[in-house]
């Protein structure tokens, strides 16, 4: 695709601007192989695992047909895909798989290709790595061409592998499997092309990323709106094109892939036209000058930490509001959904014989709590980045105790996770009570979400303690999270021993509203969190700071 669209550029300026593309392509492939292999393994492994387990969950056409009736609401369609798939549920397990998967699976692929392109283009310009390359006999457009070529080639390979993985489902046909793979390729190339354009416009690589993620968010929104209201908004979204292939259904069609190819080609042509128009290291959009002096609010270490990590707080709020609202909108249908579940799933949802809706709320609140925890952990990760990135050196030399820097990242992390949890709980309760049609349910759902806070604080404080005592082991900040997620989410299915499951603080949170609100475990959990905070501060106070 890239070679074909590069042609007009060649005619304009001669071959010179593309000289060295082949060599750069090999170079890029060498540098990004770990990145690519990691994403490939995740995508293909994920597809394989889900495709392999899907037929067992909904083995018979009857089960699928029953499930289809619960899916055909605007809310559920917006979270999955068009109704055409739902009509094919009974006839094909693969269609059901595609319906449930496409939006989320292509979303991950889009993220992967946005990051890949900015990494290979603007990010390299900023770190002046590309400056060395440009001083070689290499054309002005060669690095962009090589980056896009690598994106296209790897996207085709990824598509083929994903397509092949779906063949583990018995009723998947080869043509359908190839189309399922190819729609991932199409979304990948589309977002590579979009990012190639934003990389030319934006002043910095981070802004280029932000613009591309803005397009991604718009794409997701249009897909949701288009599917909920069954209108043409779907066609404004690359994810919509992928969904509109109706892969594995009788209405399967390849036209949207062609649309994606044409739009991508136009965007790539635009990127090549733009790249020659801007200066090296600069975007078309000039970097705007900022304030020449700091605002009145920026006067303490706490306010500086807030300023530096508020982006994560906003990301947490937006994610949790969306997640809360999305889950809340289906709470009302929990009873219907339950009828369609397999035995193992019923086991997850049923707790102590309470009402199904209440059990559903407990499960959703737990997922919300796991998700909100992530934003606290990310803030702790930011503290480590400030240290290794050397920016903390200026602060460590200022008259601030260690509890101020890097210590102020702990309250910031706790606050971020807490605010995210509260937002998730409020929106779950709002939309949940709305969908059930009973506002007395609002309090139950709100409290059901908030009871998880002490467990969340433990996880954040534990990450901070690891940062304080074993700063080099960044993975150690995430391992406990992965552990409690697996123990909490899959523990019942995997039949883990109680001792292992009970290590997770989330296990000791009262299952409100199914069970009564028992304060004792909450107080104990909070005390443990406080102890971990103290332990973390102690570690931060006594260790060497590690600047580059």
């Amino acid at each position: 695709m890239a070679t074909a669209t590069a042609a007009p550029a060649v005619r304009e300026d001669g071959l010179g601007t593309l000289a060295g593309t082949g060599k750069l392509l090999r170079f890029h492939a060498r540098r990004t192989r770990v990145y690519l292999i990691g994403w490939f393994a995740g995508m293909v492994g994920g597809t394989l695992a889900i495709a392999a387990s899907f037929p067992e969950l909904y083995a018979t056409p009857d089960e699928r047909a029953q499930f289809a009736t619960t899916m055909d609401t605007p809310a559920m369609r917006s979270m999955t895909g068009p109704g055409e798939y739902i009509d094919a549920y009974a006839g094909s397990g693969s269609a059901m798989f595609a319906h449930q998967m496409i939006l989320w699976s292509t979303l991950v692929v889009a993220v992967m290709y946005i990051l890949l392109i900015t990494r290979l283009t603007r990010a390299d310009e900023e770190t002046s790595r590309l400056e060395v390359i440009r001083s070689e006999p290499v054309g002005r457009r060669a690095d962009l061409a090589a980056a896009l070529l690598l994106a296209c080639l790897s996207a085709v390979a990824l598509g083929v592998l994903i397509g092949l993985s779906t063949l583990v489902m018995g009723d998947a046909d080869v043509a359908g499997a190839m189309l399922y793979g190819l729609l991932h390729t199409a979304v990948a190339v589309a977002f590579a092309a979009i990012t190639a354009v934003t990389a030319q416009i934006a002043g910095y690589s981070s802004t280029a990323n932000a613009f591309a993620f803005g397009v991604l968010a718009f794409g997701v929104l249009m897909s949701m709106v288009g599917n909920a209201q069954e209108n043409a908004a779907l066609w404004l979204s690359p994810f919509g094109w992928a969904q509109a292939t109706f892969v594995f259904t009788p209405e399967q069609n390849w036209v949207p892939i062609g649309v994606a190819a044409i739009v991508s080609a136009l965007l790539i042509w635009l990127a090549f036209a733009l790249v020659a128009r801007r200066d090296f290291g600069q975007g078309l959009m000039a970097a705007r000058p900022g304030p020449s002096s700091a605002g009145a609010g920026l006067r303490s270490i706490g306010s500086l930490t807030f300023r530096l990590s508020r982006g994560l707080l906003w990301a947490g709020i937006v994610t949790m509001v969306l997640l809360g609202a999305a889950y809340g909108s289906v709470v009302g249908g929990a009873d219907d959904i339950f009828d369609t579940l397999s035995d193992t799933q019923r086991e997850i949802f049923t707790q102590q014989g309470a009402s199904i809706t209440e059990g559903f709320v407990v499960t959703i609140s737990l997922i919300d709590a796991f998700t909100a925890t992530i934003f606290g952990l990310l803030v702790i990760g930011r503290a480590r980045k400030e240290e290794t990135g050397g920016r903390g050196e200026l602060l460590a030399a200022a008259p601030i105790p260690r509890s101020g820097w890097p210590g102020s990242y702990l309250p910031m992390a706790l606050a971020s996770a807490t605010v995210a949890t509260v937002c998730g709980a409020v929106f779950l309760a709002l939309t949940g009570a709305g969908s059930v049609g009973d506002w007395s349910f609002f309090d139950d759902m709100l409290v059901g979400g908030l009871v998880h806070l002490p467990a969340i604080w433990i996880m954040v404080a534990l990450a901070f303690a690891c940062f304080g005592w074993l700063p080099r082991a960044g993975w150690l900040r995430w391992l406990p999270w992965a552990y409690v997620f697996i123990a909490g989410y899959f523990g019942p299915i995997l039949e883990l021993p109680d001792v292992m499951v009970n290590l997770s603080p989330y296990e000791h949170v009262p299952s409100y509203p199914v069970a009564d609100l028992d304060w004792l475990p909450l107080i104990v959990l909070t005390a443990i969190a406080a102890a971990l905070c103290a332990l973390g501060y102690l570690g931060v106070r006594r260790r060497n700071l590690q600047f580059a």
Binding site: P289, A294, R299, E393, A398, P399
Partner: protein, 306 residues
């Protein structure tokens, strides 16, 4: 005179690597102290121990008579620091960074800040990520010089500056010194150290190889002598203070130890001197001499000695 910085047998290890090996360093009040040494000798490590960023594994370090580790925050009120490699927050402008650093130490003199911005020709409205290395350095320098502190710790502060800005920097250090404040200046730029510093410490492999005023250090090192004599001189080569003697008729060239200088010149005077030049060693030559064996190991000629 009170010692602002004093370390005794200071030891710092990173795993199996001994970065500081019983380092003794003293900087007294009001002094501008040059801190020289090759890359990896332990200059930055010493400064970071003095800043309480690293904990010493042995010996003592004192800053204003207090422990830099346990009383870091209080001590930092009295000092300003410019790291060797300045990293700035990508989203904060230079002006915001200078202000926030100033406010963290309790306020910033707006007039002084603006004057320094002017002198260093720095645009405070650019974002941290768009500054070049030299400009990042300037942000840290403006923040440090604008601070009303007793001690400046400067770790290779001019490494990214152009000659014009290096001159502005020299001027600023002289002003600070004139106000009686103390400066520890780690540097590779010999001319800078020769111009600014009262005393110099040379660090090598984690120990101080030599410390003293430039005059003292010259005294202990060799001068280059070139003389045209009226009569041949005998026995010059036998003198233990004379090195690398080259005789060409009545013309002699040799190096002489600072301690043997008067003795040797007296001997020349006996023979009668037609012309004489005696060059004291430059700091650069002294520096090379102290690293003599390292350079020799790498096959570099270190000025014809030995």
């Amino acid at each position: 005179m009170t010692a602002v910085i004093r370390t005794e047998k200071l030891v710092k290890r990173f795993g199996h690597v001994t970065a500081l090996d019983e380092l003794d360093l003293e900087v007294v009040e009001g002094q501008t102290h040059g801190f020289l040494g090759p890359n990896g000798a332990g200059k930055s490590t010493t400064i970071r121990v003095l800043l309480g960023m690293l904990r010493a594994d042995g010996g003592t370090a004192r800053l204003f008579g207090a422990d830099p580790w346990s009383e870091a925050a209080e001590l930092h009120r009295r000092l300003a620091y410019v790291p060797g490699d300045v990293a700035l927050w990508p989203g904060l402008t230079g002006g915001e960074t200078i202000d926030v650093l100033g406010r963290l130490r309790g306020g910033i003199d707006k007039r002084k800040r603006d004057e320094l911005l002017e002198r260093f020709d720095l645009d405070p409205r650019k974002k941290g990520r768009s500054y070049s290395k030299g400009n990042r350095q300037k942000v840290a320098l403006v923040a440090a010089f604008a601070a009303d502190v007793d001690l400046l710790l400067l770790d290779e502060p001019t490494s990214g500056l152009d000659p014009l800005m290096a001159a502005v920097f020299n001027e600023c250090v002289r002003e600070v010194a004139a106000q009686g404040r103390t400066v520890l200046l780690s540097s590779h730029v010999m001319s800078e150290v020769e111009q600014l510093c009262d005393r110099v410490s040379i660090i090598r492999k984690g120990v101080i190889a030599e410390t003293g005023t430039l005059a003292e250090m010259r005294h202990f090192t060799r001068s280059q002598v070139h003389a045209v004599l009226k009569n041949p001189v005998r026995g010059l080569g036998d003198h233990e203070g004379v090195h690398d003697l080259k005789t060409d008729g009545l013309e002699v060239r040799f190096q002489v130890d600072g301690t043997a200088l008067d003795d040797v010149l007296a001997q020349l005077a006996v023979a009668g001197i037609a012309s004489l030049t005696c060059e004291p060693p430059s700091l650069e030559q002294m520096f090379l001499r102290y690293y003599g064996d390292e350079l020799a190991a790498k096959g570099v000629d270190n000025g014809g000695e030995e």
